[in-house]
Amino acid sequence: MAIVAADTAWVLISSALVLFMLPGLALFYGGMVRRKNVLSSMMHSFVAMSVIAIEWVIIGYSLAFGTGNWFIGGFEHVFLRGIDLYSTSGTIPTYTFIVFQGMFAIITPALISGAIVGRIKFKSYIAFIALWGLIVYAPVCHWVWGGGFLAGEALDFAGGTVVHITSGTSALALLVFLGKRKGYGLDAIKPHNVTFTLLGVGLLWFGWFGFNAGSALAANEVAGLAFITTFIAPAAAGLSWMAAEWTHSGKPTALGFATGILAGLVAITPGAGFVTPMAALMIGFIAGIVCYKAVMLKGKLGYDDSLDVFGVHGVGGITGALLTGVFASVGATGLLLGNSHQLLLQIGGVIITIVYAGVCTILIGFVLDRTMGLKVTESEENIGLDKTCHGETAYNI
């Protein structure tokens, strides 16, 4: 089948937009850590661009999108064998499909890094994301988008399950080995640069249009729908988070507002092309509140998911996946249109993903902890990872 130039243009620019989310994430996370860990935190995002990109074209793509079985793809496209300039996937070149999907494979493990800033060894982080990309991401991606057992069952337009629930859950699981930052709970560990975090969420939103609307894989009406829902839901979530915070603790913080927007982006991801704009409004409002509550809960439970990967991506992703089962009305039907079966499928998909990602992450974490060690020494943590892991200081005269 011949490619369609307009679809190709759209997926190409969408791929670039998704890659651009990585600097956005680096800013978002980097702004929230202390000065002594900013480069370390940003490098978590940046190095994922290299490590996973290479892994993806060597083997990841084949495992995720090769024919394979219900669980995982095969090895037929290892090193991109069997694909050439004229291979097509739908109406776009296969090379372009590979790139677009590769961007998703990159950002997912990078999201996890927010939970563990300031205390993971850099080389162990690299090993972790490389293993995680093969053991967790590739299979789950195959299940949902690559022809596996969830394909055509659970709805996941742009990665609520594949990207956000896997990363959110794994973030939490990894804390089993990395514990708290020193001083967590005693001292206020303040974000060293909130302007970075705001700017970061701006970049993320911008890139997310590629993430969600690009997932239509064509410049068509569905892309248009996914775009407008990705416009509305984060706007609503930003407001509802802000309202909750303003009522609850008296001031609307910039950090909170930025987090609310992110929660909305996450929550609309699974349903972006399946729900109406007004449903997106609802999903956004709900996600802002739910994630706010989830982050508050952390305070009570006392674990140190430092930048709230679980509270935002995990909880936001689950919220979005379930609400997709409720509100779906475009090209699929959800609970509100009487299809309660879809909601059950969504719940099933969520549970399976949580269990799978959680268990595998604990296994990977365990192995790495015993072999290379995951956590830096207390003194390294005190001094900061920029100096101890990278030999640098971010800011100088």
Binding site: A188, S249, K298
Partner: protein, 115 residues
Amino acid sequence: MKYVIAIIRPERLDAVKRELQKVEVNRLTVTSVSGYGAQKGHLEVYRALEYEVNLLEKIKLDIAVNDEFLEPTIEAIQRGAKTNEKGEIGDGKIFVLPLEDVIRISTGEIGSEAI
């Protein structure tokens, strides 16, 4: 000669500078510092969680003065640094240290006239 160190609120810097100008103390050095003391740290909220922040931003002034200028300097700082008439906790402190010698680099002047 005295070496006066004053810790004040950042938002009072302009007022203090104006008051010092009035008493013709027009030399000083400013440093951004943070500190705590009687002023209770306040709660700040980070993403739905409250934390106590106790290091507060302050401004430190270093002013070397000849003895006859000490009183006016201290009074000027007090006038400028008070948040309001009665003063608030956290308005700051003034420390007076002995100063043995001053050298002005450009001219080589020494002592009182170098200040």
